[in-house]
Symmetry: C2
Subunit: 578 residues, 2 copies
């Protein structure tokens, strides 16, 4: 069986398999979603209209035995940024598609009525069924019901109430290994795109699937070995290493120490209370409560940075509390209580909200007087507004910039309309260059300069040095390639420092594709993706003026170091040679 | 006394007169506001932050005896479009500034506290006083109180509750001759810019003012005579002519007949019920009720297209019901009752809302299910939400595009974020070219192709002919020049057809300035203004992709003629040679 594309026409309620075009053969994940979106979507279309498309694509090695490669990319025109979007997640949903040799699911058109639908995909075919009974409910309950209906072994992608109201802060949810709705392709409002078409869920059952085709098994197996060696020997990624022991939350204390952990809607970069929500404290607490740590988001992960956070006594599992989520829903809102953050994160998962955007919008809502900074109950109540689909909820569900405009807040931490992640660019300049210049809108994963600026991975760089265009560009190119491969971005920590690991990555790609790529091809591969995305954005009306941080980062010094973002426009434009 | 600029620093609460720069001497109205904004405002600043500025400038001949010249331009970076904005109004406020030789009031900075202020400007100086007691109230009551406080002879500019909540649909209000808050520089959300600075009102008393300086009285008087002759002889502008008899509402039947009067959020271009809200019916009704018609917006107008609409029995005067307002709050919302429209228009004036944006946002709110099309009470209730500053009110006050996003509506009639006026561009292509290409966002007054396409003024053109770049450009250039002169745009009806009238306009400008301009200089003068505005917009990130109509005008045929907007992108780009 050759690779194929599953095209879902929501206007006609039809799903059909198509041959995978020969010229797409080297494309997977982000390379494939961005290529299809750029080829098939009018950059000036309304993102929630009939002419946008939503594309799901597992990475090239996803579903194989390649370690830590269970990623799926989701792409479309973003209702949040107005540009092209790729958001990705780690989930066995991705691996099932890979094993079924479904290179992409392309959802197009728009159902005319008010009904919601569920797409079921098995190795033998597809079915589109009414999903109204699973709508207007929290995803924790709905995922339980869906697993009851479709069996324990399926994987599920879905969107929640935030998407039902077309919220530009809504993400695409995937199950974790426990079946919790906690793994998100969260950014850019793609949840609303899915809901706008009338599609609520995709359920995948890969029984009888042939598995990922591997054209050169020798190369593949050699690559797996080299990459596994690198991952298991690097301090950040190895068993018992930083990520495995404390999860992404290991960064809380480090970034707070660096003065770059934004507090109170980016009003300060440091607060002693941050330690209370650190990865170290969280890991200890999970152990006490009988949660799960370490844990993987998808089978076959060597790093295993994930976890299952619960209430005391191991009750009411939430899923992972990522560093970004803890920060967004915590320090950014002056909240320093992991139990409150856990409940806020649960509310995000339950409603289908991107946690970063959610923390950003609560921050500006607090600044706008909807509730006070640090008001834990007030923050939780804001999510109730979304759940009840009230006018306030409709404001909030549309994200940070929208909420700021509704409530007259002028300190708006967004780039291209998308809320900034957990590193203040005034304290750490390189990540600011990535926020500004990635085609994706403010996104730390697009070129994670923190690795070099703070963690000393892939070399070192002074966080305050403003010459960061080369660092950001190189990371953005490598990241785009990784996002196409299906590997988790976290393999970069190892392969940036251990050259043999990177060779292993390329070996596995050659194994799957039957090609003879070398590590020298990686940057060019990434550049093609970025070029495709930037061309789409240009045709959507983006210019270098969109590659800028908002006013207040340039004007308002950040305590404790009292720096502004002083990277010049020229340096920003050097990233892509604009 | 030479001309001067009044600079108002709202951070320091100081107002100081400055010399008028020698190189600004030929600039007035829109030429001056756009020049100052382009020179002093960072195009990437937050429009409601401390770095935006708000500029008031009367036209070059405003305050003199030149007929129909009581216009004031207001400029700044628009919170609605994100680009440069000039909105203008006819009011004796403009004439008083002209007579006081105040070329511009530049409001800058931002008051840090929650207080609102009033700026009083007399011939002898200025005063900034607390205005909290006049806040959070409807402008009809407030203007009465202000006239009581400052005397009947002052003129007043102010912003209402819609601006207090930073609504991007809020306009700048000026008094009409009765002291009613009914003359608006409405478009683009400049009301919110004024409120964001802490400034609520400007009160002007021109007692003892020297009057407009006229360097060549002979030329000036000759010009006044020629222009007056033209205005009093053209069928559209003469006493007893179309505008004088029926006001701008004379267009209702004409545009409905042409199939271009948008109904139900631009779902059809014609409805028989439109006749019930025509200018003819309205004029008759005003006569019956004992309202005022004809009437001028500012003294010295020859055309006198204005009126005072009242409730039956001459009660509760509203002010003028313009064609655009009647359409926006009427047929666009399936409302065909002048009394309801009168109350909706009163609500707009009372809250400080642009009526066009208000009608647009009610239309999308109706489409989004907030209330039904044609629900008159439902429409009025929406304004109560703004008055009460509820979350729904905060959504609505931010305009059509914002309301559409909040309620998941994808048929969004805006260009550059600004709501379309009362002519459907699918039925009348030339006005669509203006909507798309003016730097101001969808604005009929920027290049009123209707004059030629429908009224046969300045030649004739088939509304369905798609070659309209020349027509739109020429009109946009002439309009920019007129917006600088201080003349009402409606003189164009006469001077486009009567060459001697245009000579008269130039004569009066030469009279005031002591120059020897000819009619051949008009287009170049206009081009300079447009160039300035387009340069600002480009620096704010605008491209030719912003010079497009939204998706549904291109995809959805408009009954009854079932045309789409089929002007090519190439034709649109030919307007400015992009």
């Amino acid at each position: 069986m050759a690779k194929r594309i599953l095209r879902v026409d929501m206007t006609k309620l039809e799903a059909n398999f198509e041959d995978f075009p020969a010229d797409f053969v080297a494309l997977g994940g982000r390379a494939l979603t961005s290529t299809i979106v750029a080829k098939e979507v009018d950059p000036l279309c309304h993102p929630l209209g009939a002419y946008n498309k939503l594309v799901f694509a597992p990475g090239l090695v996803t579903g194989s035995k390649a370690p830590t490669s269970g990623r799926i990319s989701v792409g479309g025109k973003s209702p949040l940024t107005g540009g092209i979007k790729e958001a990705n997640a780690g989930t066995n949903f991705a691996q099932k598609l890979g094993r079924m040799r479904i290179a992409a699911i392309v959802v197009e058109g728009k159902h005319k009525g008010d009904d919601y639908y569920l797409l079921k995909v098995t190795n033998d075919g597809t079915e589109i069924i009414k999903a109204n009974k699973w709508s207007n409910k929290g995803l924790y309950d709905v995922y339980k019901e869906l697993y009851k209906e479709f069996g324990d072994k399926v994987s599920i992608s879905g969107v929640g109430i935030a998407a039902e109201i077309m919220g530009a802060a809504s993400g695409i949810c995937f199950n974790d290994p426990e079946g919790l709705p906690s793994r998100y392709a969260g950014r850019g409002g793609l949840g609303a795109v899915m809901a706008s078409k009338g599609l609520k869920f995709i359920v995948v059952d890969d029984t009888g699937a042939p598995g990922v085709e591997i054209l050169n098994k020798e190369a593949f197996n050699m690559g797996v070995k080299k990459l596994t060696n690198a991952l298991t020997s690097h301090d950040v990624t190895k068993p018992g290493g930083a990520l495995n022991s404390f999860g992404t939350g290991v960064l809380v204390n480090i970034i707070n120490e660096a003065g770059g952990l934004p507090q109170r809607n980016f009003s300060s970069g440091q607060d002693d209370r941050s330690e209370k929500v650190s990865g170290e404290v969280k890991a200890e607490e999970i152990k006490k409560r009988g949660g799960v740590r370490p844990h993987f988001c998808s089978p076959g992960c060597v790093i295993q940075c994930s976890e299952v956070w619960t209430k005391p006594g191991g009750k009411d599992p939430v899923g992972v509390l990522e560093y970004e989520s803890v920060w967004a829903l915590g320090p950014n809102c002056s909240i320093y209580d992991l139990d409150v953050i856990g409940e806020l994160n649960r509310a995000c998962n339950d409603l289908g909200l991107d946690t970063i955007e959610a923390g950003g919008l609560i921050g500006v809502a607090m600044e706008g007087g909807l509730t006070e900074f640090g008001d834990e109950k007030g923050a939780l109540k804001l999510f109730d507004e979304i759940k009840k689909k009230t006018p306030t909820g409709r404001i909030l569900a549309n994200g940070t910039a929208f909420t700021a405009q509704a409530f007259g807040v002028t300190r708006v931490p967004v780039v291209k309309g998308q809320s900034l992640p957990a590193y203040d660019p005034r304290a750490i300049k390189g990540i600011g260059v990535t926020y500004a210049t990635t085609p994706q809108g403010a996104d730390h994963t697009a070129g994670y300069a923190i690795a070099t600026e703070i963690m000393g991975v892939g070399g070192t760089a002074d966080p305050k040095d403003t010459n960061k265009s080369d660092l950001s560009r190189n990371l953005q190119l490598a990241t785009a390639a990784i996002d196409a491969s299906g590997y988790c971005l976290f393999i970069a920590f190892a392969v940036l420092d251990i050259p043999e690991g990177l060779v292993g990555v390329v070996d596995t790609l050659n194994g799957v594709l039957g090609t003879s790529l070398t590590v020298n091809d990686v940057a060019g591969y990434g550049q093609q993706i970025i070029d495709t995305e930037r061309a789409f954005n240009k045709a959507a009306g983006f210019t270098e003026k969109d590659d800028r941080l908002p006013e207040f980062f340039l004007k308002e010094p950040l305590p404790p170091h009292n720096e502004v973002f002083n990277v010049s426009d020229e340096e920003l434009d050097k990233v892509w040679g604009a």
